[in-house]
């Protein structure tokens, strides 16, 4: 047990901190061009694709170094890089399953954000049960023709390309009839409609595919291998968020404490109220436990261990904590917590929600409802933990693929 950074990692952290202090844009990045310029600066500094193999333009940096960079960005509230799905999911998928021609064509432009990517997986009737997806890709010889609807697609409005799962063999068992494709989003058969969420904002979209074309050369792996590819994709971007997420929670907590000093009730600061203090104490203790747990995960990743199903414990734990935290924060702030505009100066701090957007308490509170649904709902995580970590018997399900 030694939770201190080594002298080398400490030096790396200090250098990283200095770089962000000197280079983080002071103005909000409004246009895509501004954001590309910032991304390019991050790329040139070696902060993009840190976990990727060197031969594909990465750094092969340790999980800890990746976490240090993400944490320093969270600390200074730096704007995020572009193309997170391209870098975290599409690139590693191509490195593992792609042809040489695909790697040559796509990888570098993913890292430089010259081409932006989205992931076309979920469908209106295929959420937790993703393998029941119905979007069809019909083989037309030189190309495939894709028809169907995707939903909950992040970055779809910006994306040039999408990583697509579609059914190529309706007769096969449901997990075996799916193929994986790279689809050009800039074509007439692809229509993106931003989805307005309960936050009032549109981080996600619906994507309608009507006879959209995918060249045969953009099939990833073999026909029917799509489900396997989606399940086995290795992510090189590991540990990146473990600490940064907690750092964002901690910043929000300190803003909350500041608000309880500024707001008064009966002429006394809220901070003097024992009930408020009890709530703050509970949030702080849980927040610190999240930090310790993140360090433990990071340490395991850094030693080359793959968390596997244990990652479900982490995801379940922090996403449920985030809801409790923001529910409690809004209770403390009373009528002010739910305001989406016109907040008093003392409360006007920008709270960076786990979406990465800096907004109000109300936005962060609403956004926290997403975390226990996306990327495997809490109920799915509990199934995974029960079956694959604790070894409890599987539930009888008609669609199980026999191994």
């Amino acid at each position: 047990m030694d939770l201190r950074l080594s002298p080398e990692d400490l030096a790396f952290r200090d250098a990283t901190r200095r770089w962000f202090e000197a280079n983080t844009p002071r103005q909000e990045l409004k246009t895509l061009e501004d954001k590309r310029e910032w991304h390019r600066a991050l790329y040139d500094a070696g902060f993009i694709g840190m976990g990727w193999p060197r031969r594909y333009g990465g750094q092969e940096a340790s999980a800890l170094r990746q976490a240090i960079v993400a944490d320093e960005m969270a600390r200074i509230n730096a704007p995020p890089p572009l193309n997170p799905l391209g870098i975290a999911i599409v690139g590693p998928t191509l490195i593992h399953h792609g042809t040489e021609a695909q790697k040559e064509r796509y990888l570098r432009k993913i890292l430089t954000a010259e081409e932006l990517w989205c992931q076309l997986y979920s469908e209106p009737n295929a959420g937790s049960d993703l393998a029941s997806l119905r979007t069809r890709a019909e083989d037309r010889g030189t190309h495939f023709e894709v028809t169907g609807q995707k939903i909950w697609t992040s970055y779809a409005t910006l994306a040039d390309w999408g990583l697509l799962l579609a059914r190529t063999d309706p007769a096969a068992p449901k997990h075996r009839g799916i193929s994986c494709f790279l689809i050009n989003m800039r074509q007439p058969g692809v229509e993106v409609r931003p989805l307005r969420q309960i936050t009032g904002t549109s981080e996600f979209s619906e994507v309608f595919l009507t006879g959209a074309r995918v060249d045969r050369s953009d099939l990833v792996g073999r026909p029917g291998q799509g489900w396997e590819i989606a399940q086995t994709t290795l992510s090189y971007e590991r540990g990146g968020n473990a600490l940064a997420r907690v750092t964002r929670y901690a910043s929000a907590f300190h803003e909350l404490v500041r608000a309880t000093r500024a707001l008064t009730r009966g002429g006394r600061p809220l901070l003097d109220d024992p009930l408020v203090r009890a709530r703050l104490g509970r949030i702080y203790a849980e927040l610190e436990v999240q930090r310790y747990a993140a360090l433990r995960v990071l340490s395991a990743l850094d030693r080359g261990e793959t968390p596997g199903a244990a990652a479900s414990v982490t995801k379940l734990s922090y996403s449920e904590f985030e809801k409790r935290f923001l529910e409690s924060a809004l209770e403390i702030l009373g009528p002010y917590g739910q305001l989406t505009g016109g907040l008093p100066e003392a409360l006007a701090a920008r709270i960076t929600a786990s979406s990465g957007h800096g907004e109000t308490w109300a936005y962060a509170f609403l956004w926290s409802r997403a975390g226990t649904i996306y990327a495997g709902s809490s109920e799915i995580q509990k199934n995974v933990i029960g079956e694959r970590v604790l070894g409890l018997p599987k539930e009888a399900r008609p669609d199980r693929v026999r191994a």
Partner: protein
């Protein structure tokens, strides 16, 4: 950065588990529950021979000079078997003496503790039910060259078997810690029954107990920081033991859910049960992270060493209560019987939940440190 046990620490855990599985089986624990003294001299001597009693004591005084991480490893294993006895409280008292005692006190008592020849405890709680040293009402009135101690120490763990008791009292100089041997005239004890019979509580009445200057641990008026650190170690120690009780309860629940059948299938196949077990695992893993982070922070003198033990105690107190309680729920009727072992862990967790500051107290302590007021 490494959040994992060293090879030596893994070995320590394995040997502790092997020893306790053999020598502290549930039959042994249950026999000690019925025993008026509540602990086993044989077990104590074995633990001394294994080096457990001197584990964290200074090498110059018969100890091994290891830290809270190793102590927590042992205590987690003890929680796993609901070990009954004064191990934890003896270690806490000895560490306070090692840190703040005079050289004469250290020479007299530490080697004795390390070799199994002395047991000890700290009398944190007065008549008011709080572990806060600032609430101490017991008085130390100057008399001759020394003091006379008067007051009530309501719930002192294992005082009936202790060879010395560390007693905080208010002297004219301020809060002072006294080393009191229970044979002193004016000290009356009555043993109290708690739901966890593996933890014995004693009520002490001090009626003008005369002590000399040699009984002062450190300097008069200097007890507050000593007690603060003793409480921090107590918080980590209790967290480790609660973690052990919780992990054992989870293990038993998972094993049971695999074999107990209802409606023609193992109950673990039902999501209602499986999800409960998954939630228990999240609590146990987080309790592990909290406990060992705090133990490391104390050993390393980390900048958050004054907060991490409170984080651990605040979190693990509730997590262990949830896990040990849900274990009974997963088991159903059998979990509610005296003959089944689950209640040993449920009750141990409950006893530890209130010791060395409960969750509310530690949360308030955290808010004072991070937000002031």
């Amino acid at each position: 950065m490494r959040f994992a046990f060293s090879d030596d620490q893994v070995l320590l855990r394995q040997s502790a588990r092997a020893f306790l599985d053999e020598h502290c089986k549930s039959e042994v624990v249950r026999a000690l529950w019925e025993d008026p003294r509540g602990e086993s001299e044989a077990l104590w001597k074995d633990m001394a021979a294994l080096g457990w009693l001197g584990l964290a004591l200074p090498e110059g005084h018969g100890g091994s000079g290891l830290g809270m991480v190793e102590t927590a490893i042992l205590l987690e294993e003890m929680g796993r078997v609901a070990y009954p006895g004064p191990y934890r409280d003896t270690v806490l008292a000895a560490l306070a003496l090692a840190e703040a005692g005079t050289e004469a006190q250290r020479r007299r008592w530490l080697p004795a503790v390390a070799t199994g020849g002395a047991r000890a405890t700290i009398a944190f709680v007065d008549a008011e039910p709080t572990w806060d040293p600032e609430a101490t009402g017991t008085r130390a009135e100057p008399a001759g060259g020394g003091w006379r101690l008067s007051g009530v120490k309501a719930v002192v763990p294992w005082a009936h078997v202790a060879d010395f008791i560390l007693v905080p009292a208010r002297a004219p100089e301020g809060l002072t810690l006294f080393l009191v041997e229970p044979s002193r005239p004016g000290l009356a004890q009555s043993v109290l029954a708690g739901m966890d019979l593996g933890t014995r509580w004693v009520s002490l009445r001090l009626d003008g107990v005369a002590v000399g200057p040699e009984a002062v641990v450190g300097e008069p008026g200097a007890a507050a920081p000593v007690l603060d650190r003793a409480l921090a170690r107590g918080a980590v120690a209790a967290s480790a033991e609660m973690l052990g009780a919780a992990r054992r309860s989870l293990d038993m629940s998972v094993a049971y859910a695999k074999v107990r059948e209802q409606f023609g299938q193992p109950i673990g196949a039902f999501q209602a049960v499986r999800h409960k077990c998954a939630e228990m695992l999240v609590d146990v893993e987080n309790a592990h992270a909290a406990t060992y982070y705090a133990a490391w922070a104390l050993d390393a003198g980390a900048e958050d060493a004054d907060r991490a033990p409170s984080v651990a105690k605040a979190f693990v107190s509730e997590a262990a209560r949830r896990v040990c309680g849900e274990a009974i729920q997963v088991h159903g009727g059998i979990g509610f019987t005296w003959e089944y072992d689950l209640h040993l862990f449920f009750k141990r967790a409950k006893a530890l939940e209130v010791m060395y500051g409960d969750a509310d107290w530690h949360r308030e302590r955290l808010v004072r440190r991070v937000a002031g007021g």
